[in-house]
């Protein structure tokens, strides 16, 4: 803890029109890190970014930059640059003048500007685009101009507000790799906002999972995926089967009517817990080889694997397997101790259940409404 974080947010609270967006928010970001703020829309991640950029004033709490309080420093005096969601390029300037904007404002010489712009355009692979009209560029090219424009100022911290949201899948993958490369080359601290969990896992050093204006978990991508802290994180990051369970003893959990050996400890005896099992960790075996067995209710081909929904005593499990299973067949589910992850109960427990499909629920609703109608008719 000796090292001063480049950005620190302390006890931040923000509300818009009486609605709390961030509550008692604390975050420390080390220099040179690639940090991702990940969460569903409305979780306060963009607001957090705008506080660092200086566009939102927190109602409470302090913002520090290299240990200095910058609450009242206006955006144009912060050593922080932003890549906006819709790029926000200046439509009246060409590519060169867009990239040169920040340096001109800072009174750099035209000679210096020229060489920096050239370097920046080279870095984002836009050589020869200097005199193009920005309105005629494709989304990916505009994106890269926005990156070059922000980096030309040599910021200490780069803020990226869902910069890849508007690009198609293939281009997004390329840009992810490119951004990661630029971050490693320049050593600039990146704070990246996204709702795409895959993007967050593949790019970041540290992921901050947010919901309802609060941090749910901070950790490396591996930690977040393998050791989710609560049902929200487990559900938001990847697919997961979340079951109600009881921690009978250290290394022994009971769920789905069975006892399983696991690798978690430190819970009270017989403490109710949430159990997470990732669909790709489950091995499919013959029904008599495992205490868990059920009937396959649906199989979807996903390219890399099949997504198999299995009904085990009313609970629908999701399994990802490269082997095809016949719909209606009976299979066994085999779990290894380290496939099982135990979480403490939280406010999210029970909100994310099994893989009962949307259409199943619809069927039930339709049946229920038909029943009600029938009852009403009886009354008449």
């Amino acid at each position: 803890m000796g090292e001063t974080p480049i950005i620190e947010l302390k006890n931040i609270a923000v509300s818009f029109d009486g609605e709390a967006v961030l509550k008692d928010f604390n975050l420390r970001i080390r220099g040179g890190e690639f940090v991702t703020l990940l969460g569903p829309s409305g979780c306060g991640k963009t607001t957090t970014l705008r506080i660092v950029g200086g566009f939102v004033h927190p109602d409470q709490g302090d913002v520090f930059f290299n240990g200095q309080k910058i609450n009242d420093v206006p955006p144009h005096k912060r050593e922080v640059n932003t890549i906006f969601q819709k790029y926000a390029l200046f439509p009246h300037l060409n590519v060169y003048d867009n990239v040169a904007f920040g340096m001109r404002v800072h009174g750099k010489s035209e000679k210096e500007i020229k060489s920096t712009v050239k370097n920046m355009l080279n870095m984002v692979n836009l050589n020869g685009f200097a005199h193009r009209n920005v309105n005629r560029l494709s989304g990916g090219q505009q994106q890269r101009v926005a990156i070059a424009r922000a980096l030309a100022n040599h910021p200490k911290v780069l803020l990226l507000d869902e910069p890849l949201g508007a690009l198609d899948l293939k281009l997004r993958k390329d840009m992810q790799a490119e951004l990661k490369k630029i971050q490693q080359q320049t050593g600039i601290t990146f704070i990246f906002v996204t709702h795409d969990q895959e993007e967050a896992l593949s790019m970041s050093d540290t992921v901050v999972v947010m919901d309802k204006g609060e941090i749910q978990q901070i950790g490396s991508p591996q930690d977040i995926y393998n050791e989710p802290k609560n049902a929200f994180v487990a559900d938001f990051i990847g697919e997961s089967n979340i079951l109600d369970g009881v921690m009978v003893d250290d290394y022994l959990a009971e769920f789905a009517g069975q006892r399983f050996r696991c690798v978690d400890k430190g819970f009270a005896k017989n403490e109710p817990v949430d159990v997470v099992i990732r669909p790709e960790d489950i091995d499919v075996v013959a029904p008599d080889e495992s205490p868990l067995s059920g009937v396959v209710t649906s199989v979807t081909f996903k390219g890399v694997h099949y997504e198999i929904i299995v009904d085990v005593a009313g609970f629908k499990w999701m399994i990802q397997s490269t082997d095809f299973q016949e719909e209606g067949s009976k299979i066994g589910l085999l779990l290894q101790p380290d496939d099982i992850h135990i979480m403490k109960k939280s406010e999210y427990s029970g909100m994310f259940g099994d893989y009962t499909t949307f259409s199943d629920e619809m069927d039930e609703d339709i049946l229920a409404s038909q029943r009600e109608e029938a009852e009403e008719e009886d009354e008449i």
Binding site: G53, G54, F55, P74, P75, H76, K77, V80, N81, T82, F84, Q85, K86, A88, L89, F90, P91, H92, F101, G102, V105, H106, N135, R149, A150, N153
Partner: protein
């Protein structure tokens, strides 16, 4: 003489409209949605009244024994000679045509993407730089159409100059008017002057459009 005076007074009126109208349009575009619609309605409100009536109202205000001079006299201040001056003509033009300046400016400013302004701040531009480097250039289409919409009717007006300018401040419009309805009945000459006026206006508009680089990006209306 008529031509020069028309263009000179029209240009002054247009300049004043721009100087007064731009800040107003900017303020309107930055207020909340509900206040905005009320303010836009207030700008339009005088246009619901007849043009002649409004100009007559200014006559009674500006006369040597009019409301303003009566008020000055009761306060013990010296009287001002206002009616029948070129200043009164310019005032009449500004008053009558300023909504045509504010509305295109307002629509250009209101449509501007706020994130572009934030991007400029983010890159280190202070408020003055944000305005001169981003907001004003992006509102250029609105400026151009505002200037056109004020300058063209101001140059060719004849009612305002007749009523507020007296006999000494006749404009090109008055000259044309006289050829058709006045004492110097000569429709042929009147038509010829109209044509010359039209060519002059087209030249002025052509010069102004040079300031815009040929691309209308979400600005107001172009004539």
């Amino acid at each position: 003489m008529f031509f020069l005076r028309s263009i000179w007074l029209g240009a002054i009126a247009t300049g004043i409209c721009l100087l007064v109208g731009y800040p107003l349009a900017y303020i309107i575009s930055r207020t909340g949605a509900r206040v905005q619609s009320v303010l836009v309605m207030l700008v339009m409100l005088p246009m619901w009244m007849n043009f002649l009536l409004r100009t007559y109202a200014w006559m009674t205000l500006l006369e040597d024994n009019g409301i303003i001079n009566t008020a000055l006299a009761t306060l013990g201040l010296p009287k001002l000679h206002m009616i029948n001056t070129s200043g009164a003509v310019v005032l009449g033009m500004v008053y009558n045509y300023i909504p045509y300046m504010i509305l295109p400016l307002y629509s250009a400013l209101a449509k501007m993407d706020h994130s572009v302004i934030e991007a400029a701040q983010d890159l280190g531009a202070n408020q003055r730089r944000v305005f001169t480097k981003v907001i004003f250039p992006l509102s250029m289409p609105g400026v151009i159409s505002g200037i056109t919409m004020v300058f063209v009717p101001a140059v060719s007006t004849f009612i305002i100059s007749k009523m507020l300018g007296g006999g000494s401040n006749l404009l090109i419009g008055d000259l044309i008017d006289m050829q058709f309805l006045g004492s110097a009945y000569n429709p042929n000459l009147g038509s010829a002057i109209s044509l010359v006026l039209m060519v002059l206006i087209l030249i002025c508009m052509g010069i102004m459009n040079q300031f815009d680089d040929g691309e209308t990006r979400g600005g107001g209306l172009m004539i």
